[in-house]
Symmetry: C2
Subunit: 418 residues, 2 copies
């Protein structure tokens, strides 16, 4: 039995970033770049009109911003012509089109004198732009970035804006850390699939779907392997199959019972135990090991079979491992913890810290934590309505209402006011 | 041209929750329940052993928690036997197994006197549990919930814990609001696909992939429809195809140019204009309409073609519409706004509010906003590194460093310290 802090430190030590993979840009949305993206060309690639209007020569406009010009060509975005703008001429131009040779600026169509705004090639336009500045409304070549410039440094997250920048820079494939693949295995001969009608003595496999949802929420790629009964050969085969993934998450089979086979079978499969049993409630029986191979490693988590224990252990131990594997920088590995004021008294245990479900609220007086009714490791209903886990340190006795406590804020829950 | 607040109010008015759909539980992870889940049976369905050990009769234990008992049956989880426990007898039992008739409590295996802990059916066990309480380590039938109880009320989010509860309650399918389907269409004859090499005058379609990522981040289901050139017939066909989705997001074609066809073509397709042009920078040309049918409606957003304008308009206008359609309660529709202290001066415009990219930091003195270099509506690079959008109200002049400003915090960015 080890302390929680020591157990978390071991998980952080053993977990390592996955190997980067080159994937199509759209398969990498939301992921973190391992290598910087350098521009394949200039942006804009040529001087670009930024308004709909008339491409003019600076020198042709009088000091008061007026000019009478011949429209020599019409240029929509995408249109290209070899025609240059000579003195006294201009081009009718649309946003996004390349500025024709000879022109320096764009006068918006709104600044054409009434009756002449519709002038096309062959016609004449009268302009009056009192605020005219030479070179206006033109994005000059390479002013966003030049060929070879780093447009997104390594470590950038591929946000929607970053995706747009990557396309603009000509990146079709990017190097990212893939989401960790997580094999999920529910152990127990009493289990039946979620959609089956359990007979007497049987229980629906709720841990499998719950952990699958938890893996998704933590950014992993779940590989559901279903149920395996309490027989060593069957469990050995299932664990061996699971080891093809980056992580194996088992539930059940880690307590003191005759049929708690996970530690033994994992050892048989070459998984080296890192720790077994942590001073923690719920979740004491949790097991953690690592399977090292020439080409990498798989982490194996044996979570308790009781659903609330299983989920609390997932959030405390598996989540940071997945974050480290996905290249999340330190500081983003764990669920956030905040200081909160207890709204009612709560009793700590003598021997180990309790992580108990609570409501979390932001009030004018700060953040509050309201302990929720909860009957312990099998009580998932109590956990499902909680926004946070209240940390009751070992040996703290009864904490009175008004005491300041630490709260782990669950994923998907912003404290109100945020 | 309308004010931003009025435009947002119109979007909120017109957007409506989608029709609920009954889907398999695992297809609904993370979504909001439209109908409560009621338990199909009791949980636990029978009195269940909560520890590995021996199922005993309360009356058989002496006041000091000792007993010498005959083991009459071995019960693993999933095992069922008709054998009752008579006085002086007990069952070897594993966590999760039904308590046999006659037994009232479980004594953990750790409380068996050394040498007798291994006793199986036919053997004898000597127990010594100084802290024995009658009925201990048994989860009584229906104590988590009873058949017909509401285990998850309407409005619950299907978090991992809620998924587990739903399985436990026997729910295989649930009624949820589906993610809104969002057709994405980039308009402009100058556009080429992201993986093509643009010729002179051509531009890669960066808005399409960027908006696809933005739809994903906002919880929508993107339907990418590619590029359509600036020809009315082609655009009309593409919009008509898009109207099969819940939302159509177009980029480009909404300015004052000759080829800005979106408003006209949308009208041709029976899309009623709600507003066109909003007092806002970037994003002034934004267009919004609604296509009503007998069986519902599709919302149509004409975003500006400049990528930064397009994304800012997505976050301000499209995001809340998607949230409303997905049944998110009011308060969760928009990106969060916080008050922050400017780290450097920033200049507002006279005529319309500016939403400019900034860094957001939580310091000991509060939240700070650092304006980022940004050249305007075409500058996506400046937006890609921003954690927030600094709001510079119209006519506010130059805001000095130290002034308090409002900041829209972008998705996926927690302010540090959170």
């Amino acid at each position: 039995m080890i302390e929680l802090a020591a157990a978390l430190a071991r998980v952080e030590e053993v977990a390592a970033a996955l190997r980067p993979r080159r994937v199509p840009l759209m398969a990498a949305v939301g992921r973190t770049l391992v290598a910087a993206i350098e521009a394949a060309g200039d942006s804009p690639p040529w001087d670009r009109a930024m308004m709909d209007g008339f491409a003019v020569r600076n020198a042709d406009l009088a000091a008061d911003g007026t000019a009478i010009l011949d429209v020599v060509v019409d240029l929509a975005a995408g249109d290209v012509s070899g025609i240059s703008i000579a003195p006294g001429g201009c081009a009718r131009i649309m946003t996004g089109a390349p500025l024709p040779p000879g022109a320096d600026a764009v006068v918006p169509v709104e600044c054409a004198v009434e009756g002449t705004a519709e002038a096309h090639a062959g016609g004449q336009v009268r302009l009056c732009d009192r605020r005219f500045r030479p070179g206006q409304h033109v994005a000059r070549r390479a002013t966003a970035f030049g060929r070879g410039d780093t447009v997104l440094p390594a470590g950038s997250r591929l946000s929607p804006a970053a995706v747009g920048v990557a396309v603009e820079a000509g990146a079709t494939h990017v190097l990212v850390l893939p989401p960790p693949r997580v094999a999920i295995l529910s152990t127990g001969s009493e289990l039946v699939p979620p959609d089956a009608e359990p007979g007497f003595g049987q229980t629906r496999n709720s841990n499998g779907p719950m952990l699958r949802a938890a893996v998704l929420a933590a950014g992993g790629d779940p590989v559901p392997l279903g149920i395996v009964g309490d027989r060593p050969e069957a469990l050995r085969a299932a664990v061996a199959q699971g080891l093809a993934a980056d992580v194996v998450v088992l539930s059940g089979g880690v307590s003191a019972g005759d049929l708690d086979l996970v530690p033994i079978v994992c050892a048989d499969c070459g998984v080296e135990e890192v720790f077994h049993k942590v001073r923690l409630k719920p979740g004491k029986p949790v097991w953690f090991g690592c399977h090292r191979r020439g080409d990498g490693q798989s982490l194996v988590f044996g979570l308790p079979g009781n659903p609330a224990s299983s989920l609390v252990c997932f959030e405390l131990f598996v989540r940071p491992a997945l974050a480290i594997m996905a290249g999340v920088p330190a500081g983003g590995w764990h669920l956030p913890r905040v200081a909160a004021v207890l709204t009612a008294s709560a009793r700590a245990a003598a021997d180990r810290p309790i992580y108990a479900p609570c409501r979390v609220r932001r009030t004018s007086g700060g953040i509050t934590a309201e302990p929720l009714p909860w009957s312990g490791s099998a009580d998932l209903v109590g956990l499902a309505v909680a926004e946070g886990l209240l940390v009751l340190p070992a040996g703290a006795g009864t904490l009175a209402a008004g005491a300041t406590v630490e709260v782990v804020v669950r994923d998907g829950h912003r404290v109100e006011g945020w």
